[in-house]
């Protein structure tokens, strides 16, 4: 089943695939697992030269006006290559937040990011608020910021966080230098780096407040729709790689004197994986187009549906991939288990399955009330 992607999108996907084939490998991934700073310097500048830093952003900020579908194809290839370079977390996510806020100062910050002059990450979550991003538990009292952010995917190298807080019940987006905070970094399930960041009466100046109130809420809601689709894209790349590898293994691994792919139960597993993969691809294309819509309800409906579907079905591709590989599938030496962890990781970021099913149901209620 071929879906005709725009020619330019196909070109972007092909270039990304070739670049990763030449510059990344499972061995590099395994070394990167042990590293604190996950932006490999040479690949970081190569990605910039490929135009990935500018791809998601408008030309007026030095970007290349790429669509979410374009970016999703890059992220799909990163997922397929098991690549840990934190492109989404430290380029796309902070950049889109700055762009969606869209003030003079945030657009100037975005230009710096596109030029590779800044190291940003988003700090949107804490374990108290969970996925309820519009009501973070961090508080801005006057000029003092106190609280904590968890699960901050800063690649181990960001120096400034775009963090959310409540100021008198109103959502604010702040740019806070990490130097002003206490940071504990550790490894995440997917092998990347996440941080716990403590803010203890950090002094906030006016320039550090990027957006507040409705403006901040809208920017955040657009950002999350965008990021959910990229979670799906990464899972799609990983699920596709698992399917390919497992199919190949079923054709070559012999037990009882024959390839295990000749057993009906294995055939059915693989056919189920294939069918699910087709559906996942459809959901990705649908959501990538709609999550950039000007219509908020379309954005929400498409991106929550996609993420809920992926958090179930991509996991259901990863599980039989391990089962068919048998013992070797649960070892560190083989990439299969690492893809499994990546998919589990992405199923939990920016809202998990239960969260999105609930959101989706509530959206429906909103429409019925209209």
């Amino acid at each position: 089943m071929e879906f005709n992607l725009p020619e330019n999108t196909t070109l972007i996907a092909d270039t990304a695939r070739r670049y990763l084939k030449d510059n990344y490998s499972f061995n590099i991934y395994r070394q990167q697992l042990e590293q604190q700073d996950t932006a490999g310097a040479s690949r970081w500048s190569a990605m910039q030269e490929l135009g990935w830093f500018g791809l998601p952003f408008a030309e007026s900020s030095g970007g290349f006006d790429g669509t979410l579908l374009d970016v999703a194809m890059v992220v799909r290839e990163l997922g397929a290559a098991l690549c840990l370079d934190p492109y989404v977390d430290t380029v796309v996510a902070p950049g889109k937040l700055l762009e969606y806020v869209g003030s003079d100062s945030t657009l100037a910050m975005l230009s710096d990011l596109v030029e590779g002059r800044s190291k940003l990450a988003c700090a949107l979550y804490d374990y108290h608020a969970g996925y309820q991003v519009l009501t973070p538990s961090m508080k801005l009292n006057g000029r003092r910021l106190s609280g904590q952010k968890n699960f901050v995917p800063d690649g181990g190298f960001a120096d400034t966080l775009l963090a959310t807080a409540l100021a008198d019940g109103e959502l604010v987006v702040l740019a806070v230098p990490l130097a002003a905070c206490e940071t504990i970094r550790h490894r995440a399930l997917d092998g990347g780096r996440i941080a716990n960041v403590l803010f203890d009466e950090v002094e906030i100046t006016d320039e550090m407040i990027l957006a507040r109130g409705e403006k901040a809420e809208q920017a955040l809601s657009r950002l999350l729709a965008y990021l959910r689709v990229l979670d799906c894209a990464r899972m799609y790349g990983a699920a596709g790689a698992l399917y390919q590898r497992t199919l190949e293994y079923a054709k070559t691994r012999k037990q009882f004197g024959v390839a295990i792919g000749s057993f009906q139960i294995i055939q059915h597993y693989l056919v189920d994986m294939f069918i699910d993969l087709q559906q996942l691809e459809s959901m990705l294309f649908m959501a990538a187009v709609k999550a950039e819509s000007e219509d908020a309800s379309q954005r929400e409906r498409a991106s929550t549906a996609a993420k809920a579907y992926y958090a179930d079905k991509a996991v259901r591709i990863a599980q039989p991939a391990i089962q068919i590989h048998g013992g070797i599938g649960v070892t560190e030496e083989l990439d299969i288990g690492h893809y499994f962890r990546l998919i589990t990781h992405c199923s939990l970021t920016h809202g998990d399955r239960a969260h999105h099913i609930k959101s989706f149901a509530l959206l429906d209620e909103v429409h019925q009330g209209e």
């Binding site: 979550y125 374990y127 108290h128 608020a129 969970g130 996925y131 309820q132 968890n150 699960f151 504990i184 550790h186 490894r187 995440a188 399930l189 092998g191 996440i194 716990n196 012999k254 037990q255 009882f256 004197g257 295990i260 057993f263 139960i265 294995i266 599980q319 391990i322 089962q323 048998g326 013992g327 599938g329 649960v330 070892t331 560190e332 030496e333 288990g337 690492h338 499994f340 962890r341 589990t344 990781h345 199923s347 939990l348 970021t349 998990d352 399955r353 239960a354 969260h355 609930k358």
Partner: protein, 304 residues
Amino acid sequence: MAGAPPTSPFGVAMVGPVLYNFGSQEQKDRWLPGIVSGGTLWCQGYSEPNSGSDLASLKTRAERKDDHYLVNGQKIWTTQAHWADMMFCLVRTDPTVKQQNGISFLLIDMKTPGIEVRPIYSIDGHHHLNEVYFTDVRVPLENLVGQEGMGWTIAKFLLTHERTTIAGVADSRHEISRLKSAVVESPGFLDKNQARLRIAELEIELMALEYTNFRTVAATDEGRPFGPESSGLKIKGTELQQKVSQAMVELGGMMSLTWDNPETVGSDTFNRATRRYNFLRACTIYGGSNEIQKNVLAKMLLGL
């Protein structure tokens, strides 16, 4: 259930029953006390790189010499081999007869020269598993259990015991109770009603498994041997273990994203849930994959 670390299953639940059913009096006197006291740690030499589900195709060779067997070959996925004092091992003593008839059951001292144990790290990041290489390993003749060629019969007997313990009823019960506490005590945002419903479903499944397990055990009390129904317990039990661990990861949400966190983020139970979830992907593979168990049931019980 109280959360005490489980005893290693290889002695008391596996080679122990083999020895009191098939062992000589000398073997019982020599090995059973260490199995009962836990003083001797055992490991299981079954799988080989090309003999996983197709276990009967195993190639590790034991040649009978004057006063010993000379063992050469390789075992894989050997849990706790790096700690074990002894291995019970399936070896091929006769390569000329039908596969199943050429297998014997040997007890091998892990300190014997010629044995090399290499670690395998599993996807929970830990070292439980090993490869074990045998190069001209001399094993005394008296370490043969039963007769030569009886290995497959003994192996199958042992597997029915392994499968019953693999059902992991107590383990699932313990994990469900940990999950309940984690949900109740969770400091972070968590939809507790949704969580309760999910846990209730798991608990009901556990109840069905537990009572099926009771019936199997009761049957053995009446002198009937474990039969192929142990395959059903293994299938349901491991599926439940996977469901419970997956529920723990998913209910933890982002708290399950941490891998090697130096400090607790919200809930320690949820922070550590993913490693177990990862490791337990193996439980539908080990002890004979669940697909193989279904083949056993189809053939032995349903007559298909």
